[in-house]
C-alpha cells in the first residue's frame, strides 16, 4: 500500500510532463551514482598521478607508466608549469576534491537529503573544477601538444559530476532558473552530456589526427 501513496505524493510535489516523468525519477537516483563512480575514478587518477610525480621527483629519468608513445605521454605533461598552476602538483587538488565528491555521493546514496547550501556549495566547487579542467584541456591540446591518460580520466568524470549536480539543483529548485530551461535540462540531460563529451573527444581526435592515423 505504501508504494502508490509515495508515488501519488511525488507526483503532487513534482509535477511532470508526460515525457519528463521517468527522467525526473531517474535523475534523482542517478546523481549519487555519478558522484560516487566519478569521484572514485577521479580519486584513483589523482592518486596515481601523485605517485608518478613522486617517482619522477626521485628519479628525473623515470618514465611514467602512462608515457606510452609520443602523444600519450604523461612525462612530458607532468614536467610543465601547467601541471603546477598553484605552485604544487594539480593532482593534490584532485586528491582532496574527489574524496569530497565521493563522500557526497555515498551520503546521497544512503538517502540523505542535504541542505540547499551544501548542494549549492558542491555545485560551485564543481563549476570551478570544470572550468579548470577546460583550461587544462586547452593547455594539453594546444600549448603542450601531448595527452596524459590519467588526466583525461579526470576530464571525463569532472564534466558529468558538474552537469548532474547542476541539473539536480535546478530540478530541486535550489538553483533559480527559468522553468523552461529547467524542463529542457531535465528532459535532455543525457543529450547535453553526450554532446559535451563528444565535442571534447572530437577536439582530441582533431588535435592529434596525424598520430591517430599512424596507429591504424
Amino acid at each position: 500500500m505504501s508504494t502508490p501513496t509515495r508515488k501519488a505524493r511525488r507526483s503532487r510535489t513534482e509535477p511532470t510532463s508526460p515525457d519528463g516523468g521517468d527522467e525526473r525519477a531517474f535523475l534523482g537516483r542517478l546523481l549519487p551514482w555519478v558522484l560516487l563512480v566519478g569521484g572514485v575514478i577521479g580519486l584513483a587518477a589523482a592518486f596515481t598521478l601523485t605517485v608518478e610525480k613522486i617517482a619522477l621527483l626521485r628519479d628525473p629519468n623515470y618514465i611514467p607508466t602512462c608515457s606510452i608513445d609520443p602523444v600519450l605521454s604523461c612525462g612530458s605533461i607532468m614536467r610543465t608549469a601547467q601541471a603546477e598552476v598553484f605552485g604544487f602538483p594539480n593532482s593534490l587538488i584532485g586528491l582532496v576534491c574527489f574524496a569530497v565528491v565521493t563522500t557526497i555521493g555515498v551520503v546521497l546514496l544512503g538517502g540523505a537529503r542535504l541542505p540547499r547550501w551544501v548542494m549549492l556549495g558542491a555545485n560551485v566547487g564543481a563549476l570551478l573544477g570544470v572550468l579548470f579542467v577546460h583550461w587544462l584541456i586547452y593547455q594539453s591540446l594546444v600549448v603542450i601538444g601531448a595527452l596524459c591518460p590519467y588526466c583525461m580520466a579526470v576530464w571525463a568524470v569532472t564534466i558529468p559530476i558538474f552537469w548532474y549536480l547542476t541539473v539536480e539543483n535546478m530540478r530541486r529548485g535550489h538553483l533559480p532558473m527559468p522553468p523552461r530551461l529547467t524542463r529542457l535540462a531535465v528532459t535532455y540531460h543525457g543529450v547535453v552530456l553526450t554532446s559535451w563529451l563528444s565535442a571534447i573527444a572530437l577536439t582530441v581526435l582533431h588535435a592529434f589526427w596525424d598520430h591517430w592515423v599512424t596507429l591504424l
Partner: protein, 222 residues
C-alpha cells in the same frame, strides 16, 4: 526508450560513424612493396638500413645490427640515450649501430633538431650534434617555441662554418632526408619512439641498457 536516451545514442552513433569514416579515408597509404608489415624480408632489410643511413658504430663482421628510430625531442629516447652510448662504448666494433630520424609531429623542435644533426653531419660533426641534442634535451624539449637559436648556438660551439650550417639546415634536401627516414619508419611499423630493430627484428622489451644488452648478446651468441 525516452527521447533523452534516443537523441543521446543518435549523437554517439553519428560521431562514431563520422570519425570511423574519416579514419578510414585517412589511413596511411599502403607501401608500394606490399601491405604494411608484410613487405618481403629483403625489402624490409633494405628499408631498415639505407645506403645513406647514419652508422654511429660499424661492426667489422656485420653480425649484429641495431637500428634505432629516434626523436631527439622525445624524453623516452633521451632516457634510452645513456644506455645506448654505454653499449656502443662496450661493444665497440662488434655491433653496427644505425641512427634513423623519426621526428614526431607533435614535438615542435624535433624535426628542426634532426635537421641540425643532419646539417652538422655535412661538416663531419654528426655524432657530436646528436649527443649534444640528447644531453641538452631538458632545456629545449617539450616547448612550443622554436629553438632555432639554441641549435645555431650548438653549431657555433662545435666550431662549424655557420653560413654553411644554416644553408644546410634549411635546404630542402635536408628536410627530405629527415622525412624519408620517418617514412621508412612508418612503413616498417614504427608508431612511437624510441623503436629499436635488432638484426631486423622489432625489439619489444624496455629499451634500457640491460634490456638491449641481453638482446644484443643473444644475437652475438648465435
Amino acid at each position: 526508450m525516452s527521447r533523452n536516451a534516443q537523441v543521446s545514442l543518435t549523437i554517439v552513433a553519428m560521431v562514431a560513424a563520422v570519425v570511423g569514416l574519416l579514419l578510414f579515408i585517412n589511413r596511411p597509404a599502403d607501401p608500394p612493396a606490399g601491405e604494411a608489415g608484410q613487405a618481403s624480408d629483403d625489402a624490409r632489410a633494405e628499408m631498415l638500413v639505407r645506403p645513406d643511413s647514419h652508422k654511429l658504430s660499424t661492426a667489422a663482421d656485420g653480425k649484429v645490427t641495431v637500428v634505432e628510430f629516434l626523436d631527439l625531442e622525445c624524453e623516452a629516447c633521451g632516457a634510452a640515450y645513456p644506455g645506448v652510448e654505454q653499449l656502443r662504448g662496450e661493444y665497440g666494433d662488434r655491433i653496427t649501430f644505425v641512427m634513423r630520424y623519426f621526428p614526431v609531429p607533435s614535438h615542435v623542435n624535433a624535426e628542426l633538431a634532426a635537421r641540425a644533426v643532419e646539417a652538422a653531419g655535412k661538416q663531419g660533426e654528426l655524432e657530436q650534434m646528436y649527443s649534444t641534442m640528447f644531453r641538452t634535451q631538458p632545456y629545449w624539449g617539450d616547448q612550443r617555441a622554436s629553438h632555432r637559436g639554441t641549435f645555431l648556438g650548438f653549431a657555433r660551439d662545435l666550431g662549424l662554418d655557420m653560413t654553411r650550417f644554416e644553408a644546410d639546415l634549411d635546404a630542402q634536401a635536408t628536410i627530405d632526408r629527415v622525412l624519408r627516414d620517418r617514412t621508412d619508419g612508418v612503413v616498417l611499423g614504427v608508431t612511437g619512439t624510441p623503436t629499436f630493430f635488432i638484426n631486423g627484428a622489432l625489439f619489444q622489451g624496455q629499451p634500457s641498457y640491460q634490456g638491449l644488452k641481453d638482446a644484443i648478446d643473444r644475437e652475438l651468441a648465435r
